[in-house]
Structures are given as structure tokens and as C-alpha cells.
């Protein structure tokens, strides 16, 4: 206690800072009816919290695992091996000539964005229910929680990306200049998982069934995305519907940027539009549900 006063005395800016904060923060608490305004600007002062929550998730994940970071390398590699055996050897899936790589590399390039998407969606969807102790005890914009869930999948992605670089070097694959588009596709994958994550996490607070649906949903979604097979194999009248899957665009984009072949077709624009709609409505739905989270969770 003695310490606290002496430190305060030594800090000449403290008074000013407090005065500044006081004039900044007048909060009016009242019930909000209907579809509340988004007020995304409110998120900005909490950017450090977003960072800390993401950092906590990552840190805890690696601390509890014996193999730690090695999982981020092993998991996609093992999936690649299984895919290669099952799809390439047994089912005879062939990689179209324009990619010019063995199936292993081909599937790994698909797995990379897919794993990013699947794990960030999984994390975001279960994030609110998993943070019930935070929800009931302290205020901050709840949007931070699913956002931290989405971002928490990024480190694994970067590690896997390094593995891919190694693989490509091993197979002497030179990436094309189109690789500059990769960040845009990563962004689309994250936006897709946030859009669905917002809806699913809010619904999950209300209905715990959502927690059971998510793994199932992700599994179905993987079969409906060109992870294990080339998008060229998808033909027929349902092709348009298939193209509306944003992850089809993302994965095709990754293959095009790194290996060559065709860029994603125009359907990706429709998919982006779909994601944008889901994202905006997701924000509003989340905001609307937000006020009852603490009472229901």
C-alpha cells in the first residue's frame, strides 16, 4: 500500500491520464431494443484483450500437449499420408497434369487452408460456451471471444506452411508469382469461419445441440470441398452450387497460387458475397443475443 502511493507520486502524467479517461468514458447502461447498432468501434480499445485471449489459447494448447508444437507439423503430415494412400493409391484419384506435382503435395496444399478453416470454425463456435466464467463475471465486447477463437488457428497454419515449403523444396516445385494472392485467400478462409462462427457460437449458448452438430458439419463440409480431390473432377448441374462454397474458392485459389492450373472461377465472387452477407447478419445476430449471454450461458 505504501508502494502504491509512492509510485503514484512519481508518475506525473497520472493525473492527466485519469482526467483524460474520465472525460472519455461516460457509459449509459440501458436496455437496447430490437437489432442493436453494431458499434464495432467499441472493439478498438479492447485490441490488447483480443491479443491476450488469442495468446492464452495458443499457449495453453501447446503447454498441455506432450508433443507441443510438433502436433502442428504431425497432424497435417499424417492426414496427407492417409489421403495419399486412400485417395491416390486405392481410389485412383489423379492430379491433373497442369499442377505438375505428386498427389502428396497436391493434397497438402489443399489441407493447409482447410485445416485453418476447420480449426478456426471449431474454436470460434465453441468459444462462448467455453468462456462462461468470463461472460458471467466481467464486461468486454463479447465479439472478442469468437474473434480470438478464429485467430487462434493461425499459428498452426504458419507452422504447416513452413512444412509445405519444405515439401515443395523436396519435390522441386517452384511457386508461381500468383503466390502474392495467398493472403487474400487466407483472409477469405478466416472471414468464412468468423461468419459461421458468429452464428454458431451465439446459437451454441442457447442450444447446446449446436456443439454436437459442429464436428459433423465440418466433416460434411470437407467432403464438399476440393481437399482430397481436384476441383476439375466436380462436374454436372450441381457444379454451380458447389462453387458457392467459399472454401472451394479458397482451396482452388491456394493450388492456383502455389502450383499453377486454373484460377478460381467467377463463382468465387458469389461465394464472397455470401460470406459478406453471413458476416454482417452474423454480427447483428450476435449483438442481439449478446445481452442475454450472461443470463443464459
Amino acid at each position: 500500500m505504501k508502494l502504491s502511493t509512492s509510485v503514484a507520486d512519481q508518475d506525473p502524467t497520472k493525473g492527466d491520464r485519469q482526467a483524460a479517461q474520465r472525460s472519455l468514458t461516460t457509459t449509459v447502461i440501458e436496455p437496447k431494443r430490437g437489432w442493436a447498432a453494431l458499434r464495432l468501434g467499441e472493439l478498438w480499445p479492447y485490441r490488447e484483450l483480443l491479443f491476450f485471449l488469442t495468446w492464452r489459447d495458443i499457449k495453453v494448447r501447446y503447454k498441455q500437449a506432450v508433443l507441443g508444437v510438433a502436433w502442428a507439423v504431425l497432424a497435417p503430415l499424417m492426414t496427407m499420408v492417409v489421403f495419399t494412400v486412400v485417395f491416390s493409391r486405392w481410389l485412383g484419384v489423379e492430379v491433373p497434369a497442369q499442377y505438375g506435382v505428386p498427389y502428396a503435395v497436391f493434397s497438402f496444399v489443399g489441407l493447409l487452408p482447410w485445416t485453418l478453416f476447420a480449426s478456426s470454425l471449431q474454436r470460434a463456435s465453441s468459444s462462448l460456451v467455453g468462456s462462461s466464467s468470463l461472460l458471467t463475471k466481467v464486461y468486454f465486447p463479447r465479439l472478442i471471444i469468437p474473434m480470438a477463437g478464429v485467430l487462434g488457428a493461425l499459428p498452426d497454419f504458419f507452422i504447416s506452411f513452413l512444412v509445405l515449403c519444405g515439401l515443395m523444396a523436396y519435390y522441386h516445385v517452384v511457386p508461381t508469382w500468383n503466390a502474392v494472392w495467398l493472403p487474400a485467400f487466407v483472409l477469405l478462409a478466416l472471414a468464412t469461419s468468423l461468419a459461421f462462427g458468429l452464428w454458431l457460437s451465439a446459437l451454441n449458448v442457447l442450444y447446446r445441440d449446436v456443439g454436437y452438430i459442429i464436428p459433423f458439419l465440418i466433416q460434411m463440409w470437407m467432403y464438399l470441398s476440393p481437399v482430397a480431390y481436384p476441383i476439375e473432377n466436380v462436374q454436372g448441374p450441381l457444379r454451380v452450387l458447389y462453387g458457392l462454397n467459399p472454401m472451394a474458392g479458397v482451396i482452388q485459389g491456394f493450388r492456383w497460387a502455389l502450383l499453377g492450373g486454373h484460377p478460381p472461377d467467377l463463382l468465387v465472387a458469389a461465394a464472397i458475397g455470401l460470406v459478406a452477407v453471413l458476416l454482417v447478419t452474423g454480427f447483428f445476430y450476435f449483438k442481439r443475443m449478446e445481452r442475454t449471454f450472461a443470463d443464459v450461458v
Partner: protein, 428 residues
Amino acid sequence: MSDLAVTVQGLGKRYRIGGPQEDYRTLRDALAAVARKPIMRIRHPGAVTSRVVDLWALRDVSFDVPESQVLGIVGRNGAGKSTLLKVLSRITEPTEGRATINGRVGSLLEVGTGFHPELTGRENIQLNGAILGMTRAEIMRKFDEIVDFSEIERFLDTPVKRYSSGMYVRLAFAVAAHFEPEILVVDEVLSVGDAAFQKKCLGKMENVAGEGRTVLFVSHNMPAVRGLCSHAIQIEGGRVVNQGTAGEVVDEYLKVQASTAAAVAWPEGEGPGDEEVRLAGMSLLNSEGEPSGSVTNGRPFVVRMEVDVARVASALCIGFDLTSADGAVVLRSYQTDGPEETWPQLKVGRNTLECEVPAQLLNDGRYLVLPRISLHRVRWIVQGDAAISFEVHRDTISSPYALMPRPGTIAPVFRWTADGSSSATTGE
């Protein structure tokens, strides 16, 4: 700018019991309800969606807190104090009314919120600070102070899952206490930690109040409210029933508490407790075994607790706090205080526990009995409110010189000797 830190106008919070939130917790129920609704409408055109009970945890609450006032909030358990703090710290949204708050609100509601057992003390300080709303610069500036205050220096880089519960609480409190919001909200934290640490916390509270910050202090500890707060409000049934200076409000609150009868019996299922353990009744018996609100100091008396137990747990501690009329605790007693073989056997169903309080213990005055039930080191089941009260009269005093009222809470009669012997043995 106004000099009001907090303005609360007509604040209300409604919970729906048995309503949609309760019923449709699974998707199947929700879907079924949607499907049923039109059919219900056809079958029972006039029927309103029944079974929904509105519970107003807060209603028409209005008060102002000027800047740098320390406001005590008192009231019985379930009166709405905690809901009020939750609304003011924006954890839950009010149903009606509004509150205007000038400044950041920090609360000691959330001691240890966001602590992760796998992270080290150092990491948890950073994380918890960020959750409470501190900037990174602020955390860095306060870091050494926090470590000092919590006395965990040597274990800074140990995961907190290896901490003793005392260390854990100390660290958690240290972080919360070093957050310097303009408005601090404190709820009953003083009941955590060991006695020395509690003292430290009270000191910190005094300090904060002395620095001219606004504090909202919720407590059952009446001497603390009287000592720390300048003003107080009393909440009962979700409404403000009294407000004024801390002294006035506490006196009034205690008067009401002290007017509780010498015996109480709760209707089935409505006594304090939970599904597993519930109080059915409490009474005071004089030395003749009759229920009485007035006992004499010269005779022992009995506190009787009737407890319904659904599941017998060995860690179940049933007892009470005996407090003086101003709320200061005189003693606490549990059925498990003696050696294990002397503990009364609890059974499933109604248990009548009796505790004999010896003669020549309490001074003249009015006393309250507050039932306390806990699962040892797991959770509190019952705590907080006085159930019965009684008066003690010293009317069987043997000495002709001890007739005047004495100061002090207890009035035992001790044995005195002179030169190693008392008069009884030196007699003729």
C-alpha cells in the same frame, strides 16, 4: 461535467422463469415448439403462453453516487445486490431504466476471472489485467507492486495449478486490487483468504476509499460497512427500501434483523439451502428445553437446527455464526468442530441438530444467529442472513459487586487466586 459518478434511474431487471430461455434449451424443443404453436393457437385460441413467471430481481432502483463517495449496499441474500452490481458492471443488461456511469468500472466481483491453471503466475497477471481492462503499459507499471502484494515472488514462473488455494486467491486479488478504475465495485471478497490477508484487503479498501475514488461496497459485514462507507442503501426484494448515511442504514438494517423471532420454520422447500441440504427450521431453547427468545447468562442454552439432507456427504459442515446486534461475529460453531468420532451422525431426511452453548459465556445484549452450511472447501450452501435472534440477561450473578452492566461481548466468570491460592482453599 457533473460530479456524479453513478446515476441510477428506475433500473429494473427481469428474469423469466419457465419461459423460452428455460424451456427450449435444445434445438429439438425449439423446433417442436415452433411446430406446436399454430396447433395450440387453433386448439386454445384464448390461451396465453402459460407457465412463464416473471421474476424481478431489481425494480425501480434509483440512487446517485457522487464522485469519491464510498457507498455501502446492504440487504439479505437474494435481495438483488449482486444483480445490481452485475448490471452496473455491464455483465447483464437491465430490462428497464438506465444507469449513467462516469469513468471506468472495475470490480472485485471477478477475482481470478480468466485465470488459467496451466499458465504461470506471471502470465496470469498479464492476462487477468487485460481482462479487467488494464492496458499493457498499466500492467507493466503495476507488475512489481502486484507481485509484492500477493507475496508469490518465488513462484512467479510456476503454473498456478501448483499454487495453494491461498496463494491463488492472493494473486487474483492483487491483480484486481491494483486495477485503478474510477469506480470500484466490491462484493463480499473479504470472506476469502486467511485472516491476515483479509486484513490486508480491508486495508486496501480503506486506501482506495481514502484516495477519493468512488466505491460500491456490497457486504454482510456490518461493522465494515459502517467503518468504510459514508453512505449506504438497503435493498430488499429488488427495491431500495432505505438510503442515507451508512450509520443510519446499518442501524435500521440491524434493527430489522434483530427483530427476527427466536424460532423460525420454513415451508417445505423454501428454507435456505439447495437440493441436497436445506434448512427447515431454527430455534433457541432455554435451559428448560422450551423455545425462548430470552435466556440468562447463568444457564446454558441450545441452538437447534432442523436440516433436511438429501445426500449425506462427509464434508458437510452445518453450524452458525453468533453475532452481536451490531453484526460483529462473536463465534462460529460447526457440528464438525470436535474430533471426528464425536461428530453427530447425519442421515437422509430430517436431522435435528442441537448445539449447547455453555453458561456464563455471553454478556447482556441482543444476539443474532446466522446459519452456515458448507461442503468443506468446496462451496457455501448457506451463509449470510440472520435466522433467529435472542436476548441474554445476566440475572444469576453470584457476586454482589458485578451487578452493573459490563462492557464487552462475552461475560465469563474466571477463577482468581492470590499468592497461588484462592479463598476457597485458604478458608479457616
